[in-house]
């Protein structure tokens, strides 16, 4: 199969690579760019584990062709912390106990980031709507909701201990 050139910015870095036209963005991020923080939970758009931000919007990378990302700005979980400092959402997930097995965590955090960027003061319903497409089998979502609230309120950095 003929490969096509794909140019995009991933986590702030310009990348250029040849991809098959049927390759998903998920495959390219995980396999070619080795960004394994992008998780594959279902491969059919149901679980949200593969969510990344494309031009600041959450998308399911398993349902997105890599070539659709041409010219786009992609953010994966690996690009969220800056200079070793966690993003407030990451801090909040750690502090509020919103992480158990952690498989859903990258998708949850990125979807939450898109929400807070768009709407810095979401109410509970807004948060639930933004995360309705992301499955978590471990937490029952209670602490995830608390983490997003904490990040919204700037209530982070209290890790203590």
């Amino acid at each position: 199969m003929q490969k096509h050139l794909l140019t995009m910015r991933v986590n702030g870095e310009q990348v250029e690579l040849a991809v098959r036209p049927n390759a998903t963005l998920l495959d390219v991020l995980r396999e070619d760019l080795e960004l394994t923080g992008v998780k594959e939970g279902c491969s059919e758009g149901a679980c949200g584990a593969c969510a990344v931000l494309m031009n600041n919007e959450p998308i399911r990378s398993c349902l997105t062709l890599a070539l659709e990302a041409n010219g786009a700005e992609i953010l994966t979980i690996e690009g969220l912390a800056t200079g070793g400092r966690l993003h407030p959402l990451q801090e909040a997930f750690v502090e509020q106990g919103a992480v158990q097995c952690g498989f859903c965590t990258p998708g949850m955090i990125l979807s939450s980031k898109a929400l807070l960027d768009r709407n810095p003061q979401p109410n509970d319903e807004d948060i639930k709507t933004a995360l309705a497409g992301s499955f978590c089998r471990c937490t029952g979502y209670a602490k995830i909701l608390e983490a997003v609230r904490a990040a919204r309120d700037g209530d982070v950095g209290n890790e203590g201990s």
């Binding site: 960004l35 939970g41 059919e44 979980i77 966690l86 948060i127 978590c136 089998r137 471990c138």
Partner: protein
């Protein structure tokens, strides 16, 4: 010691593994990559039951990019089974396929596309055989046999009888018999199953896969591959949830290892979501008939329970799975006279294991029936449960002493905080409230693998490394071990490293099934830390010229109690110990005090588990009778977890339990079938709860300080998962004035029950379901 004396234990400290998980750094099995790594794919039987006449792999082998093809011929002929007497599964089918999806062959190729292409070039001659898809047809005298040695497809039969059951029934004021049915459910842990195997020139194999016990996996693989145990090294890896579904051994790890040995290259096998559902484990369908007799106060005097479990094609944890629903309830409620008949029945369906709410029909049946009896006698649900609740110091019918038990507190606190009685009595149309009660074990008699051991070594700067066989499936076991070691050694958690769940370097552990990790592994690490601390105190006592008995380790210092300022820094003690040739090496082991003579089928009597957790959950729901939709409003859940080592984590376990046990487990989760074909193996059709549906959850931690648990801890969350299912069930029933007996309570079932209700009168279950009966033994031929 009162809680205040602890620096870390009992505190909501963030988990040590959370940072790697929020940055994407944590590696799960499918994330691993090695030079020259091949990709594996499995060919599965398209028939639910078929004889395999021939497998022709020649064309597949010739395909460019294919490095190996394996079939049943490549196995050493070892069958897998959790028990010696349940070894019934070839890890690659040899003569027969017994469910649609059974592993027939596998390939290793340079990439996924080539591997898939190669599967199409494997030609299998099948002779399709008649199949059975439910327990009724499977036990029919003329049913096809799935395993030749098992007449009527009865895989496991457990019989328990304690007390004078028939006599007690005769003395009862009221006796009811009702039947409850639950369909199959699934784990849907968020990480699909995956295995990486890497064979080395010295003949050893390294294997990574999500697991609930690396040592169990390694032992099974060593048998199947005929390799010494020391050559089979199961490595630690981040695991995306288990919920009981990673406890067993699967063909995947065997196949992947075999392919790696054959090719002498690393091989990766990643399951699709569908394969994860049908080819690892799913929950049993289960039919339960409870006959329960009570006195005039609602005290249960006798119960006979007959259960049929649809086990699918192979035994898996069969004897345990058959017994546990009964055992949980002999713990939760004090019933002096009991009789239990449990049958696990083979069908031509995927293999079933234990799931977080294993035994839905049994558990929901118990509490639904208590509510029915309560209505007949005019006794409210809270009283019905309190009258029968287990108390500390009692002994269960099969002989387990219950050292600690806070069930009464759980019932009282959930009732009070939810204002149960007022809401129960005041009838608001389509609103309901219900309570569930349950109890689980912390550990089983597991023979030589029932205990846990740990080591602790020190670094020159005073930091330490804990070495333990405990595995973390996502529940926070790693953190638990480090939190305990840090408490005992007076170190910050950040200065303790953990090596765990690696069979080459870490000692034996019971595995994270049976809710033993905290009780077993936690105790072992605590003892190793105490041992290390005693060695430190020996050295420090010389340095401080004090009695070791008077010393305290805290904040990286060792000092005489009450004089922290005059202490010696811990690194100095560690270095002094090295200098003296007495390096600090902590050792600890813990074997739970259980009766090792107890056996699931042969001798179901004796101490089952050293400790038991107890839980009560209250659910409040609103039902739309037009659509059958249920909205859960509030859930109040309490569990006696002994002692909450980390309340934040314990609460998280409770909340997750409500989601899986109640919200999903009782309202939505079931598999649908057509001739052995699972119609909803993926997340698109199988409905697991989202954040949108979740109710407000109020977790209540009840502490009883178990005398055997580390700091008094038992386990966190399982009793809530189970009791949530029962609470939701009773709440929906209360909302509609219906006693539900077929689960889960999907909108269709609720609509159907509402329609039937208009025709029937009296205190009855919604559906007349053919009861589970005692299956007479087959005359020996």
């Amino acid at each position: 010691m009162p809680d205040d004396d602890y620096k870390l234990i009992g505190k909501s400290v963030p988990r040590i593994d959370a940072r790697a998980k929020v940055t994407g750094e944590a590696l799960f099995t499918a994330d691993l990559k090695f030079p020259r790594m091949l990709v594996a794919k499995v060919l599965r039987s398209p028939h639910a039951h078929a004889r395999i006449l021939n497998v022709d792999t020649s064309r597949a082998e010739k395909l460019r990019g294919v490095h190996a093809v394996v079939t049943g011929k490549d196995t050493a002929g070892e069958k897998w089974g959790v028990f010696r007497y349940t070894r019934d599964q070839q890890l690659l089918c040899v003569d027969k396929a017994r469910y649609l999806g059974d592993e027939v062959a596998a390939v290793a190729a340079v990439d996924e596309e080539t591997a898939e292409e190669a599967l199409k070039l494997i030609f299998v001659d099948y002779e399709p055989l008649p199949a059975v898809f439910d327990f009724w047809s499977a036990v029919a005298p003329d049913a096809p046999r799935i395993h030749d040695e098992y007449p009527r497809n009865i895989n496991v039969e457990v019989k328990i009888e304690v007390g004078l059951v028939d006599e007690a029934f005769r003395n009862c004021r009221l006796v009811r018999e009702d039947t409850f049915l639950a369909e199959e459910d699934s784990y849907f842990m968020s990480e699909p199953y995956a295995v990486v195997a890497n064979c080395h020139a010295d003949g050893s194999v390294e294997i990574w896969m999500p697991n609930a016990s690396p040592h169990t996996k390694a032992k099974a693989l060593s048998n199947a591959l005929r390799l010494p145990l020391s050559q089979v090294n199961v490595r630690k890896i981040t695991i995306g949830g288990a919920f009981g579904g990673r406890s067993d051994v699967f063909p995947a790890e065997f196949i992947c290892s075999l392919l790696s040995i054959k090719t002498q290259r690393p091989v990766k096998l990643v399951y699709t979501r569908e394969e994860n559902t049908i080819a690892t484990r799913m929950g049993h369908a289960m039919l339960t008939t409870h006959k329960t007799g009570v006195d005039k106060n609602g005290k249960v005097l006798a119960r006979e329970s007959i259960c049929w479990l649809d086990g699918g094609a192979y035994s898996s944890t069969g004897p345990i799975a058959t017994s546990v629903p009964f055992l949980c309830h002999e713990q939760a409620y004090n019933v002096p006279n009991v009789r239990f008949y449990g049958y696990r029945i083979y069908t031509n369906k995927p293999v079933r294991g234990m799931i977080r709410i294993h035994g839905r029909s049994f558990a929901c049946g118990v509490d639904t029936q208590l509510d029915m009896i309560g209505e007949e006698l005019g006794i409210d649900p809270v009283t019905m449960r309190l009258v029968n609740a287990r108390r500390p110091g009692e002994t269960t019918p099969t002989g387990s002493h219950v050292a600690s038990c806070g069930l009464v507190e759980c019932i009282e606190q959930t009732a009070e905080q939810s204002n149960f009685l007022a809401k129960f009595k005041k009838s608001v149309p389509n609103r309901g409230i219900g309570m569930g009660v349950n109890s689980v074990q912390t550990g089983f008699p597991l023979g030589i693998r029932g205990g846990s051991q740990a080591f602790i070594k020190f670094h020159e700067d005073g930091g330490a490394t804990v070495i333990s066989g405990v595995v973390d499936n996502g529940q926070g076991n790693d953190n638990m071990l480090v939190q305990i070691a840090a408490e005992e050694l007076g170190l910050p958690m950040s200065e303790i490293r953990l090596i765990s769940a690696d069979t080459e370097s870490t000692p034996t552990d019971a595995g994270s099934y049976s809710m033993i990790s905290t009780f077993g592994g936690g105790n072992a690490v605590k003892r190793a830390a105490e041992d290390a601390r005693a060695q430190l105190f020996e050295v420090a006592s010389e340095m401080l010229e004090a009695d070791p008995e008077d010393l305290v380790a805290r904040d990286r210092k060792i000092f005489v109690r009450g004089a922290p300022d005059a202490g010696v820094p811990l690194p100095k003690v560690v270095r002094q110990a090295l200098l003296l040739g007495r390096p600090i090496m902590g050792r600890g082991a813990f074997n739970p005090d259980v009766d090792q003579r107890r056996e699931w089928i042969g001798n179901p009597s004796g101490q089952l588990s050293q400790a038991f957790s107890f839980g009560a959950t209250v659910a409040e729901v609103e039902v739309d009778p037009e659509t059958g939709q249920v909205k859960a409003l509030d859930v109040t859940c309490a569990q006696d977890c002994g002692f909450a080592l980390n309340p934040l984590i314990v609460e998280g376990q409770f909340e997750g339990s409500v989601a899986m046990g109640g919200q999903g487990g009782m309202l939505a989760e079931e598999h649908r079938w057509h001739n052995g074909h699972c119609l909803n193996p993926t997340m698109l059709e199988y409905k697991i709860p989202t954040i949108k549906e979740m109710p407000r959850i109020k977790p209540i931690i009840v502490e009883t300080i178990d005398p055997g648990g580390p700091y008094g801890a038992k386990e966190a969350g399982m009793s809530v998962a189970m009791s949530s299912a029962q609470a939701y069930c009773c709440a929906v029933g209360h909302a509609l004035g219906i006693y539900f007996n077929h689960y889960p309570l999907t909108p269709e079932r609720i609509r159907d029950a509402i329609e039937r209700k208009q025709e029937s009168k009296g205190i009855k279950t919604a559906w007349d379901i053919e009861p589970a009966r005692i299956i007479p033994p087959e005359p020996k031929s």
